[in-house]
Amino acid sequence: MTATLRPAASPDRRAALLRAAGEYLAAAALVVATTLALWPLRDRLTIANESLLYMLVTLIVAVRFRTGPSVLAALLSFFAFNYFLVRPYYTLAVEDTRELLDLLVFLTAAVIAGRLTDYARHQAEAAGLNARQQDILYRLTSALNPLTDVDAIRAELRRVAVEELGAVEVEFLPMPPTAPTEHHPAADVVFVLLQAGEAIYGTLRASFLRAPSTSAHRLLIACAGQAALALQRVDLTAQAQRSRALGEADRLKTALLRAVSHDLRTPITIIKTSAANLGDVDLAARLSAEEKGDMVQAIEASADALDRLVGNLLDMSRLQAGAVVLNEDWNSVEEIAGDVAAGVYRREGTERIRLDFPDDLPLVRCDFGLLRQALGNLVDNALRHEPEGQRVVIRGRAEAGLVRLEVVNHGPTIPAEERERIMEPFYQSRDGRSVMGGVGLGLAIAHGIAAVHGGALAVADTPGGGATFIIRLPQTEGAP
């Protein structure tokens, strides 16, 4: 295992050689120094004392400088010991074969100590390297986590490859490489597949000045794996969103078809049948004036219903497409409510609304026509559930920073689980109550209109029973 992640360049190699030479010299110098120190004492010390001292020096060298220098130290120690300190002095003659044992012990101890040192050192270096790799990988993973964009993920992987692993050029290929092209003639090029499970998100092509070490290569693969996981997460999220949108579109389409088949066909059938009856000369002759009048009225009512329905469908599609152009002006919501209430009186021929507005309600910046439509839809809905003989209340109140418009009915309370859904297009309550022209668009449109004004539509329980729909409209700055 190499000590550095980056491959050593030639100046590094020269420095390593110099360092090794220094270590050998230092080992030799230590032995010489020991010999000089023992020289004056050679008659007073025992051989055992001296040999143990040399052993100590050899071990120190081994621990400090590894196997090579320690073997040198062992050899030098044996000869210096024998030549200078053991009688007869200045000879290498070994009188006793037991002294050969000394030499062997020196050498073996030196080699064992050196190896142990080497091993410990490699372990420490490997641990350090591992920790750095873990750190790089960890930081990459943390950086990738919040990213939701393919380009940002690639940029992050590129940054790690260049800054941490020393790549000089990083490129993303859409698919596994077939015939690698050489961009950098002298470069060592590595291809890494961006793979997460079965899915492949292209290939990373990294060029290095020198072939990366095995560990660097492995780290690059690990990083690419993390990036591939991030790419897969983005891909899956996008897929989920697409299928949700498709599901929603599908649901709307089904609901629209159902609504169209019922709510459009009914008035058309009435118009068609009434007109045919009136047009049939024989039949018309037998019909009373009252019956004819009823048919004419039915035609007119059906046409009005169709008009409302088409208007609602158009509004809905404009709101959903975000294509509504607001004709905004300072408006009195009381005026708007008055228009709605008068319309109800004209339609029903009786007073079914009670207006409740304070004298000092501020003007609101809004589109008169759209807000009247929203309020009208809420009122139509409220009237549908209002008990006979009671009145739907339209109430206006000022709140901090906004104006609140409430439509209060006293009919059944809306079950909690239906509250959210009633604002969805084409939703109809489970009792299936729907009047002609109402295909469950009214509340969705009111909701959309409140939203384009920067406001909101909410529903609450009426104290004592019933539903209260609340439009909140923001009070814009500079209100007169």
Binding site: N327, D329, E335, G338, D339, Y345, R352, F368
Partner: protein
């Protein structure tokens, strides 16, 4: 009386022609703007019912502008729901009134009668010294307003607005027109003034929209209209 109908839909022309003939009017019909301009010049109708959206040639607004260059014939424009900007443009182009499709023949007939009545009455002076509408009576000579016999006090500006609207019953008064007439032309953009004052006037008139007791009607995004007096 002769009425010219301008609409590019043959079915609508046919229905309107039949309906108006049924009310006793003479009816001409044109399918596009060029034909309409020619017919007004040659046959001199006394009223024009003009669709704002014509598929060929000049559209309704353009026809209206060109007619106003040389003719004072009353013009009622036909528009569709939610088309407030175009309605304002139509009034600016010189149209007398507009009607939103779909509408009933009764409604068209009432508008025609109102527009013709105003056209006949207009260059002349105030109609009556007292304007009556339901429980409301406005004595223009003494500047006195009573609701169900009770006198109601108005500030000078409130009275000016009420008088302006009430002396043009059934006619749309745009916000800028009201502001210019009461406060002066430099106030023509301050539409919120009108809103606030009209709100006050309505309360004093004791309008009750829930029972359709109203004297001043909203023309969303355009202005106000005093109810038409029969």
């Amino acid at each position: 009386m002769m009425i010219l109908i301008v609409d590019d839909e043959p079915q609508i022309r046919k229905l309107l022609t039949a309906g108006l003939k049924g009310y006793g009017y003479d009816v001409l019909a044109a399918a596009d703007g060029h034909e309409a301009l020619t017919l007004v010049a040659q046959r001199r109708p006394e009223l024009v019912v003009l669709d704002i959206h014509l598929s060929q040639g000049p559209d309704g607004l353009e026809v209206c502008r060109r007619l106003r260059e040389w003719s004072r014939v009353p013009i009622i424009m036909l528009s569709v729901r939610g088309d407030e900007r175009t309605k304002v443009q139509a009034l600016d182009a010189g149209a007398d009134d507009y009607l939103t499709k779909p509408f009933g023949m009764e409604e068209l007939r009432a508008r025609i009668q109102a527009v013709v009545r105003r056209a006949v009455a207009e260059p002349g002076a105030p109609p009556d010294s007292v304007i009556r509408a339901g429980a409301l009576a406005i004595d223009l000579v003494n500047r006195r307003v009573t609701v169900a016999g009770e006198e109601v006090h108005f500030t000078p500006q409130e009275y000016d607005i009420l008088r302006l609207l009430a002396t043009h019953p059934g006619k749309i008064m745009t916000h800028p027109a009201i502001l210019s007439a009461v406060w002066g032309p430099e106030y023509a953009d301050m539409t919120h003034y009108v809103r606030i004052y009209v709100n006050q006037i309505r309360k004093k008139l004791r309008e009750n929209p829930a029972a359709n007791v109203r004297y001043i009607l909203n023309e969303p995004g355009v202005g106000y209209r005093f109810i038409d007096l029969p």
